[in-house]
């Protein structure tokens, strides 16, 4: 695809935006660490050493070099668990955000393009969904479907399509009244051609921006769900599970909580910086209120 000079300039702005660069590097390093976990993790994440429980990190008094970030109540290596936890976090964020994006964007464009009862139906569905606090909807969905990491992904898609739908629908409505849509119709374009060739390209900057922010949200939702025990199997290391476990002993061993919180913070920060930078660089008209809303 040829890029218009405007698009080229926009991408150039992205690549030179400090937020995009910082956020992108953060995500890239977390992803690399997660992917390489089997090779670089010092221990198996489930390996217990009951003689070395609640060890502090290596740099603190009483710490040992073989457990760089210390151990948890069962003597499992925190560093290794963090590395493996990154895999879960990124897996959920990518799949869930993609699913929510596809569903939300499709419905948004259909609603804006056809208007009338199609729009009415989709908008009312969004209204009903918006009446739920996202966490509450996630809880009842998981109670209904049963726990599991793939159920969490499905739940996020079923909840957060509304985020995309609301924002992209209003942007699509702006595009709909542009004369080039009418011109395409007069040129003999069919419905699908207009939606795919004329409307969708105009939505891309917004979709990319929201996608980035949604990935951060998905990381948080997964952490919440594993924190309350509705996500991963008990033997899978996820950041939320680590926090929930370490919470019991945080008086004696605060780092067991602080380290996974830090991991979540860095990941979400990366996605937010990326999204924020993309929004500015691509000039995506994004109403902050709806997109950056944490669950």
């Amino acid at each position: 695809m040829r890029l218009s000079p405007r698009a080229r300039a926009a991408w150039l702005r992205c690549l030179t935006d400090p937020r995009v660069v910082t956020g992108g590097l953060l995500i890239l390093s977390i992803a690399t660490l997660g992917l390489l976990a089997p090779w670089i993790a010092p221990h198996d994440p489930q390996e217990q050493d009951l003689l070395a429980t609640l060890m502090p990190p290596a740099w603190a008094v009483g710490g040992e070099a073989r457990f760089p970030f210390g151990t948890d109540t069962l003597g499992r290596c925190i560093a290794s668990r963090l590395l493996y936890g990154a895999r879960i976090a990124l897996y959920v964020s990518v799949t869930a955000a993609t699913g929510a994006m596809l569903l939300g964007t499709l419905l948004a464009i259909l609603a804006a393009y056809f208007g009338g009862w199609v729009d009415w139906l989709i908008s009312r569905a969004v209204d009903v969904w918006m009446a739920f606090p996202p966490v509450v909807l996630a809880l009842i969905l998981l109670v209904g479907m049963g726990a599991g990491v793939n159920k969490v992904i499905l739940a996020i898609i079923l909840i957060d399509w509304t985020r995309f739908c609301r924002v992209i629908r209003s942007e699509a409505l702006v595009v709909m009244v542009r004369d080039y849509i009418a011109a395409a119709r007069l040129a003999g374009f069919g419905h699908r051609q207009i939606m795919l060739k004329e409307m969708l390209p105009a939505m891309i900057p917004l979709v990319i921006t929201m996608m980035s922010i949604e990935m951060g949200i998905a990381v948080i939702v997964e952490a919440i769900m594993s924190f309350v025990g509705l996500s991963v199997e008990p033997d899978v290391p996820a950041w939320g599970v680590m926090i929930a476990d370490a919470r019991q002993t945080m008086h004696q061993a605060p780092w067991g909580v602080i380290l996974p919180v830090g991991a979540i913070f860095l990941t979400v920060l990366g996605f937010n910086l990326l999204g924020d930078g993309l929004r500015r660089a691509l000039d995506a008209r994004l109403v902050l209120s709806r997109a950056v809303a944490t669950p």
């Binding site: 009903v128 996202p134 009842i140 109670v143 924190f227 909580v257």
Partner: protein, 342 residues
């Protein structure tokens, strides 16, 4: 004016009724996909198949889904929320205790979040282009990257455990007596009973959880208010006011701020609703006996009637807060108020 506002609020709430009906059907539908069997789980060990059937009948789980929904809805309308399987008490009893606690928490959180958010937004606007704005911008970015429930844990760790400034478990300190229940709101009841020690204890117990929740709201309010202020500062009527020699302070207070407030108000509407979601985990972490705690307990025990009722109450609260905010929006924006009056 007040009467008009009430009238509008009433109309707005009426419009929310069909949504509520859909919400109830959705809640009911999702929960009946349930693979786990709540009847079997709530039977004592060694129960017979006969006991099982009896309990199933008692719960009404043996009839068709539509009938079950109809019965549930009918009871709901008469104020009967059913009986808890796990707690073995009427759900309404549980809810009536938990609801005021959650409302108290949300009210304080909203107050903190909005005041810090508005103050911060104005500060960011006043410091625009300088280092101060960048520092505040960095702070909001960091605040937004940590969800409320993690703030709750961090606050417990820092303020509760290390510094020991504030209590972080439950609603009242140990040994402090509950005031007689009049409204259910601890802060109000303790004042009505003249027990200031109770009031103090209840208030300090509220502080940490509401700070955790406010941290979720404040940075968003700050950013939206800042960017709408920057936008209105470019508006034609602001330029014109300046060209009439109106002072900058007056332009900010009378022209820019009211116009910039509109997007902020809608934001608070959406986020205020989401805040109820935030209470679920924050209450659980602070062992605060509100709806959220009830919800988590119910989820862990597959206590269907409680989950259903609490989820529905959450939706009522969200719709209620949306309606209030919509009416507030109307009060500020004459264009909507006077629509069609041209």
């Amino acid at each position: 004016m007040a009467f008009l506002a009430l009238q509008l609020l009433f109309r707005r709430l009426l419009l929310a009724l069909p949504i509520l009906l859909c919400v109830s059907a959705l809640v009911f539908g999702i929960l009946r996909l349930l693979p786990a069997d709540p009847v079997a789980m709530s039977l004592p060990p060694g129960a017979t198949a006969e006991d099982y059937e009896k309990l199933k009948q008692a719960f009404g789980l043996d009839r068709s889904l539509i009938t079950q929904y109809g019965i549930w809805l009918g009871k709901l309308l008469s104020g009967d929320l059913g009986g808890s399987i796990f707690f073995r008490r009427p759900v309404s009893e549980l809810v009536w205790v938990a609801l005021p606690a959650t409302l108290e928490l949300v009210a304080l959180s909203l107050f903190l979040g909005i005041s810090v958010g508005v103050g911060g937004g104005l500060a960011m606007f006043a410091l625009r282009g300088g280092l101060g704005e960048q520092a505040l911008d960095g702070a909001t970015t960091a605040m937004m990257a940590i969800p409320e429930f993690l703030w709750a844990i961090l606050l417990i760790l820092l303020v509760g455990v290390s510094l020991q400034w504030l209590p972080f478990i439950g609603r009242l300190g140990p040994g402090i007596q509950l005031p007689p229940t009049i409204t259910g709101f601890l802060l109000i009841d303790s004042l009505l009973a003249g027990r200031f020690a109770t009031f103090g204890s209840a208030f300090t117990h509220l502080l940490l959880p509401s700070i955790a929740l406010a941290i979720g709201l404040a940075p968003l309010v700050m950013r939206v208010l800042r960017s709408s202020l920057l936008e209105t500062a470019q508006d034609d009527y602001v330029t014109q006011a300046r060209l009439r020699g109106i002072s900058e302070n007056r332009i900010l207070v009378r022209h820019a701020l009211p116009n910039a407030a509109l997007p902020t108000i809608s934001l608070i509407g959406v986020q205020g609703g989401f805040m109820f979601g935030g209470t679920v985990l924050v209450e659980m972490i602070f062992a605060y006996p509100g709806l959220g705690n009830l919800m988590v307990d119910a989820v862990r025990n597959h206590d269907l009637p409680v989950i259903q009722a609490v989820a529905l109450i959450y939706c009522v609260l969200v719709l209620g807060i949306n309606a209030v905010v919509d009416v507030a929006y109307l009060a500020v924006n004459p264009r909507l108020r006077l629509a069609g009056a041209r």
